[in-house]
């Protein structure tokens, strides 16, 4: 091969790298803001037309939710016959990257699903439409969790999304296995020690106390989230998100207490660090392989699936014992990116999805708890659904702390926490590393 040919090959190969480097380049013109009109009025079907592309993270990921998507879109298209909807399923883990790429390219869907608070919608306010001019007084009055769509976590202020559903995390227990271990079948622990003792009894009876999966590090994050309100206040969670409380603080470290306690007592599975939660982990509970699991209060790893497998009467629930407040928030929010070409149709879609009939349908087909005051659960709703609604209605609620910190910090937390629990790094190392990441992100 001649020198020139070799040089040519080298240049050609370097070109590949240049393409990768240049992918970070590109236009940087700012998007415009649609002027805030007077308070919104309901969209009129005769005035709205076009084709809508909707990006959805839960569609095709969560089986129960997926069942609701088609009927909901069809109901919308029936009400707005001049609008067609293309519902696009996006990967959960890749979603922040896709959203970022769409905003940078100023191209993408008409309607975007957004996770609540800083983990989603509030991280992208620069690229999203402010919706106050469109939100009707009725919608504002009926829906809860507006603060998760508003900078500063206030009920009033610019809203960048419309909250849908009501959810968070909760502990489930298998009553049959509890009975077998000589434990009460109505388990209402007042302290974490009681949870540990129950776990130890299960273990003594040859039953795996906790099942799940932590390959992605999500489960550690959830333990931390549910540990947080038992040692800190909701104001402290905001302060952590805003950098007033550092990750190197006692407040942060203390929230790991419950998981540390269970880990130390040998109640968590050894294989959890190599078990993916969503595809394998939570199914173990449905299969009766463990006494307890930390799961979602709707959608996946929730009573709907557990009830089917274990029987409604055998699935019990309890919340973090001694919590100062209960973590609760919307399942997601619907937002309109500034670059969306047909904002009228986009808004019509969101308005419909937040309406009473749509939220009833969402519960009926997908099991998502409603966040509309005028939507009540049907009389034959599972006992667990009613208990969750009661829990949220009868307690002070606030979004979970993991939603209040930058995505990248939460992602790093999910990477480092399994390392900590496997004894590879110290709590101090993890705290220092997270604080560094946080400072970098805030800068």
């Amino acid at each position: 091969m001649s020198k020139r040919a070799r040089l040519g090959c080298m240049v050609a190969l370097l070109c590949g790298l240049l393409l990768a480097v240049s992918a970070c380049g590109g236009g940087s013109s700012g998007g415009g803001t649609e002027g805030g009109s007077a308070e919104g009025t309901p969209a009129k079907p005769s005035e709205v037309s076009g084709h809508l592309t909707v990006w959805d993270v839960f569609y095709k990921l969560f089986p129960e939710y997926t069942k609701a998507v088609k009927p909901l879109d069809e109901a919308f298209e029936k009400k707005f016959p001049n609008v067609t909807v293309e519902h696009v399923a996006q990967g959960f883990e890749q979603y922040p990257a896709l959203v970022q790429a769409a905003f940078t390219a100023r191209e993408g869907p008409d309607v975007m699903m957004m996770l609540p608070s800083y983990s989603g919608v509030l991280n992208y306010t620069a690229g999203l439409e402010e919706l106050n001019g469109k939100i009707t007084p009725e919608m504002k009055e009926q829906l809860s969790y507006w603060y998760t769509m508003t900078p500063g976590y206030e009920e009033e202020g610019p809203h960048y999304g419309v909250p849908i559903g009501s959810t968070e995390f909760i502990f489930y227990y298998n009553k049959k296995l509890f009975k077998k271990a000589g434990l009460p079948t109505t388990f209402e622990p007042k302290t974490w020690d009681e949870v540990r003792e129950a776990g130890e009894k299960l273990k003594a009876a040859g039953i795996q106390p906790f099942v799940g999966g932590d390959k992605e590090g999500y489960e550690d994050q959830w333990w931390w989230m549910l540990g947080w309100p038992t040692v800190n206040t909701k104001q402290q969670s905001i302060e952590l998100g805003e950098g007033e409380i550092p990750f190197t603080s006692e407040e942060f470290a203390k929230a790991w207490g419950p998981e540390e306690m269970m880990e130390k007592a040998g109640l968590l599975q050894k294989s959890r660090f190599t078990t993916p939660f969503f595809t394998e982990g939570y199914e173990q509970f449905s299969e009766g392989k463990g006494g307890m699991i930390l799961g979602g209060s709707t959608t996946t790893a929730y009573w709907g699936e557990f009830n089917k497998a274990l029987g409604e009467e055998n699935v019990g629930m309890f919340y973090s014992p001694g919590a100062e407040y209960v973590t609760a928030g919307p399942e997601f929010g619907w937002s309109i990116p500034k670059f969306a070409p047909n904002k009228a149709a986009s808004w019509a879609y969101i308005e419909f999805m937040a309406s009473k009939p749509a939220m009833e349908l969402l519960y009926e087909k997908g099991g998502l708890l409603p966040n509309r005051k005028d939507v009540k659960l049907p009389a034959d709703a599972p006992r667990q659904a009613k208990e969750v609604v009661e829990l949220y209605e009868n307690n002070e609620t606030f979004d979970d702390v993991a939603h209040l910190i930058p995505n990248t910090v939460a992602a790093q937390l999910s990477k480092e926490a399994p390392e900590y629990f496997q004894g590879r790094i110290s709590m101090e190392d993890m705290q220092k590393s997270l604080q560094e990441k946080f400072e970098k992100e805030k800068k």
Partner: protein, 316 residues
């Protein structure tokens, strides 16, 4: 061409005299410009798709840009931060460890190609079989090995079944082991390309030299070492450069699907870091700085590799 008196009056003969020279000049000019003309569309594409975005990325590396608002110039801040970024340094180290496996990466396809070149029994099948992994998407390979290497997966199952349970490991959850596993999978998935490249080079081998060495009583190993190797050295250089560049840029999809940079950050690589910063963190300026540093590092490592191989050739 016949000339009339009129053409004479109009200076026809003079034209005739100059005619061939002008034509030659024109032909030469056309000859000179034709390659440029033919290259122009490709060059324009290169400028549009590479030079401009590269310039833009270099420009962005000196800015703070979140992808939404206008980039803010911050001088060398991104590079200063990068110099203190422990995850980036760790990632770069992992890339360099992957590059350090270069001798294995060269040796395996080289010797397999030599074996196939000697037309061992079933060589056509083996050539196909060895190349097969190269046609699989890195995503497929990542997902596949993710399943195979699970603690209760087929590999550990096999080891236990044949009484080697002591060798069973959490292959993808042991920081000291996982990078090695990733490198092994990367080599497995790419060596087929190397085999093909070496096979085609071996097909063009100067057989007379080999025969001469044989006549002079050289052993197979001596022929291999003193005759074949030196003839293949330019191809080895080529393969080495491909590997060096690929080590820094091509295995992101595999790592993303197999380990996601974990456990912890033990398989985190520079291209993975670039992706995380740009698209998960929205730090486009910082990610551009990573890209620029990566480009420089690749240039240096590739240059060093070639220089090393040439120095070896000169020594010989």
């Amino acid at each position: 061409m016949s000339s009339s008196p009129e053409t004479h009056a109009l200076g026809g003969p003079a034209l005739d005299r100059r005619g061939p020279t002008a034509r030659i000049r024109l032909r030469r000019a056309v000859g000179r410009f034709t390659p440029w003309l033919l290259l122009a569309p490709a060059a324009a594409l290169l400028v549009w798709l590479l030079a401009y975005p590269l310039g833009d990325a270099v420009h962005l590396s000196f800015t703070n840009w979140d992808g939404f608002s206008a980039p803010k110039s911050i001088g060398l801040d991104n590079f200063t931060e990068l110099a203190h970024d422990k995850h980036f340094k760790e990632a770069l180290l992992h890339n360099l460890i992957i590059v350090a496996s270069l001798p294995i990466w060269i040796a395996i396809p080289y010797f397999i190609a030599w074996g196939l070149h000697t037309k061992v029994w079933g060589w056509r099948f083996f050539r196909f079989a060895f190349f097969l992994p190269a046609v699989f998407s890195p995503v497929v390979i990542g997902v596949y090995y993710g399943m195979v290497l699970k603690p209760d997966g087929p590999l550990n199952g096999l080891l236990r079944a044949i009484g080697l349970g002591g060798l069973a490991h959490e292959w993808l959850n042991q920081p000291g082991l996982t990078l090695g596993v990733v490198i092994a999978i990367i080599i497995w998935s790419t060596f087929g390309v190397g085999v093909l490249i070496f096979l085609s080079a071996l097909a063009n081998l100067d057989e007379e030299l080999v025969e001469a060495a044989h006549v002079d009583g050289a052993s197979r190993w001596q022929i291999q070492r003193h005759v074949v190797f030196w003839q293949l050295l330019p191809v080895i250089e080529f393969w080495a450069i491909i590997i060096v560049i690929a080590s820094f840029t091509a295995f992101f999809p595999l790592i993303y699907t197999l380990t996601q940079g974990g456990p912890g950050f033990s398989t985190y690589t520079a291209d993975y870091d670039l992706y995380q910063e740009a698209f998960a963190g929205g730090n486009m300026g910082y990610a551009s700085a990573i890209g620029v540093v990566l480009l420089i590092v690749i240039g240096l490592v590739a240059g060093l590799t070639v220089a090393l191989l040439r120095w070896r050739r000169r020594l010989a």
